[in-house]
């Protein structure tokens, strides 16, 4: 497969995963804000913090306000990571590699494109429209994942796409947990209160983990929640599961099942075994923030190594 094409598929999937995550984050936060005492700063600033785009937000706005945060994350054309831009970029990438994907996948990406094109020009969203929009993005992306899995051969293209999706997903789960964990543990006086429970539930819901968590642990408990989102090997959005599945993709792409053939594979394997051979008490001892921050840095290194190993190969005749 062409290096340029592989890179384009990788990013197409990262953008889609990002858009879907943002839509979910906002939808959950929106829902939560309806039942909490109104404190805009505390409710909406963490959302921007999760994305890592707080500096840009500060440049564009001088106050934190629900409508502004939503606009910034969903529609802002100046925010390269807004849902709008993620979908536009995903579709532009899909267009560039159209022969690599199926008609089903292409038409669905195109449908998402027309969805954001139509909605972003509409001024003044009311709340009902917004929730519908988030839902349409979530459903649209999930439909796409299904089509991707149901219609594409498990070839290099599929593996590069999955790799992009899983790295992005691991990154987003770690970021949500990082920001929310501290915020929630910080407000000690509320521990165990109904407000506290709603907040922890919302954290789980924002990564679609609530139902599966309840099934496994029953009770909402901060350390169990962290354990579930970082170390679970069955839940598809936990960081460790994402890493394990990424490793399978990269092994297929590198053509080996043991050891490593390139830096990307080496780094990914190292991070996976780091998580595999630790437990949640170790992590809490190290410091949750420090631990998650380290994971995010390592994910960035892995992404760079993937680029160097596959997408920007020095031409040499085989």
């Amino acid at each position: 497969m062409l290096g340029r094409v592989a890179n384009t598929i990788y990013w197409m999937n990262r953008y889609l995963e990002r858009a879907e995550n943002y839509a979910r984050f906002m939808d959950v936060n929106f829902n939560l804000s309806l039942e909490l005492p109104s404190n805009k700063e505390q409710q909406w600033k963490p959302l921007v913090a999760i994305t890592g785009d707080w500096p840009l937000y500060e440049q564009l706005h001088n106050e934190v306000e629900k409508q502004k945060v939503i606009y910034f994350m969903a529609f802002e054309e100046q925010n390269p990571n807004s849902i709008y831009n993620c979908i536009i970029n995903a579709r532009e990438n899909a267009r560039a590699i159209r022969p690599e994907i199926t008609k089903e996948v292409w038409e669905q990406i195109n449908a998402l494109y027309y969805l954001v094109k139509a909605d972003s020009v509409k001024k003044g969203h009311d709340d009902k429209d917004l929730r519908q929009f988030f839902n349409a993005i979530k459903n649209g992306c999930q439909l796409l994942y299904g089509m991707y899995d149901a219609t594409m051969s498990r070839n290099d293209g599929w593996n590069f796409g999955k790799l992009g999706q899983l790295i992005e997903r691991a990154d987003k789960t770690s970021r949500v947990l990082d920001v929310k964990y501290h915020l929630l543990l910080g407000s000690v006086k509320l521990v165990g209160s109904s407000l506290d429970l709603i907040q922890w539930a919302a954290l789980l819901k924002s990564v679609s983990a609530y139902d599966m968590y309840r099934k496994k642990y029953g009770k909402l408990k901060s350390s169990s929640i962290a354990e579930f989102l970082i170390l679970d090997t069955e839940f598809p959005r936990s960081i460790l599961t994402c890493l394990m599945r990424s490793e399978q993709c990269i092994a297929r792409l590198s053509g080996n099942s043991f050891g490593y053939r390139n830096t990307a594979q080496k780094r990914l394997g190292a991070l996976r075994s780091q998580l595999e051979y630790t437990d949640i008490d170790n992590i809490i001892e190290t410091g949750m923030h420090e631990y998650l921050d380290d994971i995010q840095l390592k994910l960035n290194d892995i992404s760079t190594a993937i680029y160097e190993a596959f997408f920007s190969i020095e031409p040499h005749v085989k």
């Binding site: 062409l2 590699i97 040499h316």
Partner: protein
């Protein structure tokens, strides 16, 4: 529900493809008209509207040159098809096969023995002054001696009901993806008519294309690629569509590299050799080492690899010399010279401004003529005499006097019309016809075409970049 009112349909002065001069329906349209008359206006509009949406969801969009970036448009597809009877089609087929055969011999000759020039059938200055003539190709013969593998000639039908060839388009003819996708859409719009009318299928175009490309190399299981200028090109949809339909890799110039005069593509597993390139990049831009030095679209060394026979380029470089509108005027003589036959499908009468008597005639009659720049296409660089102002005519006369080689003129042809949907009803709109020919082991004409339609009332400019739309073209088995 209001039905279509056809009593006001006006055919006066033009050849209408659906109705004859007495307003009687022509036999090829009889069944279609029956269907149309059973339909309400609102149903017809709804069907039309659903094709627009289908095109958007298929991503059949293009960017217009000189337009705001990021604006994507669809090529409007009018759902009333152009229907052609089998007998008429057989005539077109024969005419095109004859023409393409002769033109291919002509190109081979001018880059090799140049007999046609020595025998003074066509002035040699005419060839050597053409911007599309590539001196670098002298003495070169492409695989199987085929130069123009893919042709999309523009035909028109005049007021006399006779077809004429207007242009040959031997470089990178585009639009075939619209022929194929228009058909898919219309099959959903009028499923029952396809059965009843016995319309010839076009779906095998991409299969024949792949076979044609593979037939040009001796490599077993060759690597075939489509070379595109990229996603910003107005025909990008077609490039990606054809690559995907053929199962070929879609590459840009930067994905290719030339080593030891072989062409490779840069893959995630290293370099992979490329055998056949269906290139949708113009000659000028394919190799900055030989042609346009500033081209970022090309691959350095590509032309060298081509001359050594290590890669096949389709169409061959250098075919553009036939697209020169001054060379066009000589095609009847070219056919006679190589095949000893009279031309089956006629040319439009053409005045060559480089020849004094013709030039004089053109300047005196410019208000009745269509003047064209010989190296332009896409409806640009053109004056439509009867629709121009005195000032525009003066400007063109000055241009002709300054550089006569650059201009030809033709009488105004009243393009035939096909009924086309307007808001309330249907009205005749002018059309042309672009069938597609593939030349590998033999010359195959695909039984269908892109019919381009000038959507604006009275307009005869059918180009997509200037307000043209398209129609599906049905060739009947009977």
């Amino acid at each position: 529900m209001a039905k279509l009112n056809l009593s006001t349909y006006d055919t006066k002065g033009f050849y209408d493809e659906m109705f004859d001069e007495n307003n009687m329906v022509r036999p090829n349209y009889k069944l279609f008209l029956d269907r149309l008359q059973k339909m309400s206006v609102s149903k017809l509009n709804a069907l039309q509207h659903s094709t627009d949406r289908a095109q958007l969801s298929l991503g059949m969009t293009f960017n217009v040159y000189n337009d705001n970036q990021g604006v994507e448009r669809i090529l409007h597809l009018d759902i009333i098809p152009r229907i052609i009877q089998n007998k008429e089609w057989q005539y077109l087929e024969k005419g095109l096969q004859q023409r393409i055969k002769a033109l291919n011999l002509f190109i081979q000759d001018i880059y090799n023995d140049q007999k046609v020039l020595k025998d003074k059938i066509i002035p040699k200055e005419m060839i050597f002054s053409s911007v599309s003539y590539l001196k670098e190709l002298e003495g070169f013969k492409p695989p199987k001696d085929v130069w123009c593998h893919i042709t999309g000639s523009d035909l028109i039908k005049g007021g006399d009901g006779q077809y004429y060839v207007l242009e040959d388009n031997l470089r990178c003819p585009s639009g075939v993806s619209y022929m194929l996708e228009n058909r898919e859409i219309l099959k959903r719009t009028f499923p029952e008519l396809f059965e009843k009318l016995d319309v010839k299928p076009v779906y095998n175009y991409t299969h024949i294309l792949r076979d044609t490309l593979e037939s040009l190399t001796d490599v077993e299981q060759p690597t075939v690629v489509v070379l595109t200028p990229g996603t910003y090109n107005s025909a990008y949809f077609e490039h990606s569509y054809l690559a995907q339909q053929m199962g070929a890799e879609l590459v840009e110039g930067r994905d290719l590299i030339v080593k030891d005069d072989f062409v490779y593509m840069i893959t995630t597993n290293g370099l992979q050799r490329v055998d056949v390139i269906y290139r949708r990049v113009d000659d000028d831009f394919i190799d900055p080492e030989v042609f346009n030095k500033h081209s970022l679209l090309g691959t350095p060394g590509l032309f060298r690899a081509y001359l050594k026979g290590n890669v096949v380029l389709v169409n061959a470089p250098g075919t553009g010399v036939v697209d020169d509108k001054a060379v066009y005027a000589y095609i009847p003589r070219i056919i006679k010279y190589y095949l000893g036959e009279d031309m089956i499908l006629p040319n439009v009468k053409t005045y060559i401004c480089d020849e004094a008597p013709d030039r004089k005639y053109v300047i005196e009659n410019i208000h009745n003529l269509v003047v064209k720049q010989t190296d332009a296409s896409g409806g640009y660089g053109m004056l439509i005499g009867p629709k121009s102002t005195k000032k525009e005519q003066e400007e063109f006369i000055a241009k002709i006097k300054k550089n006569p080689r650059n201009y030809i003129a033709q009488p105004m042809i009243n393009l035939s019309r096909v009924p086309t949907i307007t808001d309330e009803t249907i009205e005749g709109r002018h059309v042309d016809l672009r069938p597609y020919a593939l030349f590998g082991d033999d010359i195959k004409i695909i039984p269908g075409a892109l019919t381009r339609v000038a959507l604006e009332k009275g307009s005869i400019v059918v180009n997509s970049s200037q307000g043209g739309g398209s129609k599906d073209t049905w060739v009947l088995n009977s």
